[in-house]
């Protein structure tokens, strides 16, 4: 067979020319080197081809790809879900400042005008965010409404409750709060200044424990995620061993070989991130019904907040990054084993 029907191409004479160990570049033309635009176009085209190839390979195995994403999504949604629940618990307990309110119990003969005037003076103090006067009558009404012994309280000959100024401090550190409480207790007409520090400390400790638990769980699950994605990519590498060997033999750099697997890892991460978002949104919504019912029994209108958009975007981006890193680690580990045979 002799099939020379095209003009003979001039064979390359470039063996031995100083190679440039950089990213894939178009072959130099015989006269001039390629311009920047051509190089950029080639680079973009290479990335586009890798991305499309990775998408096609994932789409070719929809069930397998979905379950890989689902496993990753569950691993992602666990720590994220716990963190969101902690946020909700924090919200339920009120802000730190509200939790650290100082109650100033006034002498029984303090009039409403005296109480309101003092309350306004306190509100102007530098360490105070807010001060609210609760009159004796108001206090009794609230007690009757919420204590469950409203009828018994009606039988009392006179109102035994003092007027109260509820002070919300600016600072939440223990020493600052104690100093403020001391100053407030020395004000005229104040019988007792009460700071519920124990409640603040307990809540702080519980939330800190929760945060630490979520952090530890996140670390463990991130490692599990890297293993999942690494193993998945390893299987893809094994399936494409011949292709990789051929690519290396015809001059593909490690970067060229690595690229489609990195895209694949990132795509797995994207799928997992979106699925985790959906799981969390659905899960919180499902849980919310029971929470609203329970809160209603305590006379509260508390409801679970959903997944904030910023957190959701962070979740998806983090998942993409994890997928990318997992793939990179897997390819780096296996690439050296894939020397052409």
């Amino acid at each position: 067979m002799s099939a020379t029907r095209v003009p003979p191409p001039k064979p390359a004479e470039r063996v031995g020319a100083t190679p440039k160990p950089k990213a894939e570049k178009p072959a130099k033309k015989d006269d001039d080197g390629p311009d920047f635009q051509a190089l950029l176009h080639a680079w973009l085209e290479s990335h586009r081809a890798s991305l499309v190839d990775s998408l096609r390979r994932l789409a070719r195995q929809p069930v397998g790809s979905f379950f890989t994403c689902l496993v990753m999504a569950i691993a992602l949604s666990l720590p994220m879900g716990l963190a969101l629940l902690l946020d909700n618990v924090e919200r339920l307990g009120g802000s730190w400042q509200r939790a650290a309110q100082i109650s100033l119990f006034m002498q029984l003969d303090t009039s409403d005008s005296e109480g309101e005037r003092l309350s306004a003076e306190i509100a102007d103090m530098p360490d105070v965010a807010e001060a609210e006067w609760v009159s004796r009558e108001q206090a009794l009404t609230e007690l009757q409404q919420h204590s469950g012994i409203g009828e018994a309280l009606k039988e009392l000959p006179e109102n035994p409750l003092p007027g109260v100024i509820v002070v919300t401090p600016e600072e939440i550190d223990k020493a600052g709060l104690e100093a403020l409480r001391q100053r407030l207790s020395e004000l005229p007409r104040v019988q007792q200044a009460q700071l519920d520090m124990q409640w603040v400390e307990r809540l702080t400790a519980i939330l800190k424990l929760g945060e630490r638990f979520v952090f530890g769980l996140t670390l463990i699950l991130v490692m599990a995620l890297l293993l999942v994605i690494g193993n998945t990519i390893r299987l893809h590498i094994e399936n494409r061993r011949t292709e990789i060997e051929v690519i290396k033999l015809v001059g593909g750099t490690d970067g060229y070989v690595r690229r489609p697997f990195l895209y694949m890892g990132a795509l797995y991460g994207l799928g997992a991130g979106l699925l985790a978002w959906a799981i969390l949104a659905f899960g919180l919504d499902w849980l919310n019904e029971a929470v609203v019912r329970l809160a209603g029994l305590y006379g509260s209108d508390f409801a679970l907040a959903g997944v904030p958009l910023g957190d959701a975007v962070s979740l998806v981006l983090g998942a993409v990054l994890l997928g990318y890193i997992g793939a990179w680690l897997a390819v780096a580990r296996h690439l050296s084993e894939l020397a052409p045979r």
Binding site: M1, P11, E24, P26, A27, A38, L39, A42, E45, G251
Partner: protein, 222 residues
Amino acid sequence: MIRFEQVGKRYPNGHVGLHELSFRVRRGEFLFVTGHSGAGKSTLLRLILAMERPTTGKLLLAGQDLAQITNAQIPFLRRQIGVVFQNHQLLFDRTVFDNIALPLQILGLPKVEIAQRVGAALERVALHEKAELYPADLSTGQQQRVGIARAVVHRPALLLADEPTGNLDPRLAAEIMGVFEDINRLGTTVLIASHDLALIARMRHRMLTLQRGRLIGDGEAG
């Protein structure tokens, strides 16, 4: 083009693949490397492809010492070499066109140029009507021609072939050798490792004979 100067290859397990091999290949030459299994033919090709490094001596490819090049430089070296395998090493999930286009895609050439060059390579191996088929749809001889087209599509200065006719009947083997000669006539240096002495004898090109890693003959075949 290629210069072996006292090149030796000893493996970590103590096996010696090549013993102080010395020879030269001129640019545009067509030569065979022959010998029985284990003679060192494949080791020689692997050294030229920088898949392995010589343990002694100097191996120069167009003046570049392959013992000295860095790992990062190897892909760029291989872009100047075409390789044909006995088992074709085609990618069966890609069309004939995509198989041949692979080296050009790695080079990052524009799509139009890739299409032109692949078309020309397909013409050269008389497979221009098979571009959209998959390798599994082709005969063994056609698959080998696809392998050759892929090896020459990026216009290498050197074409290496490792037992390219090993799986082919004599008629197809002769046909494939004809393709190699066509490519050689265009100026490409062709080095073929083969143990098919009958076929080599008919071709009347230079032949290096290896035996247990030693060069025992260097002359025209036949």
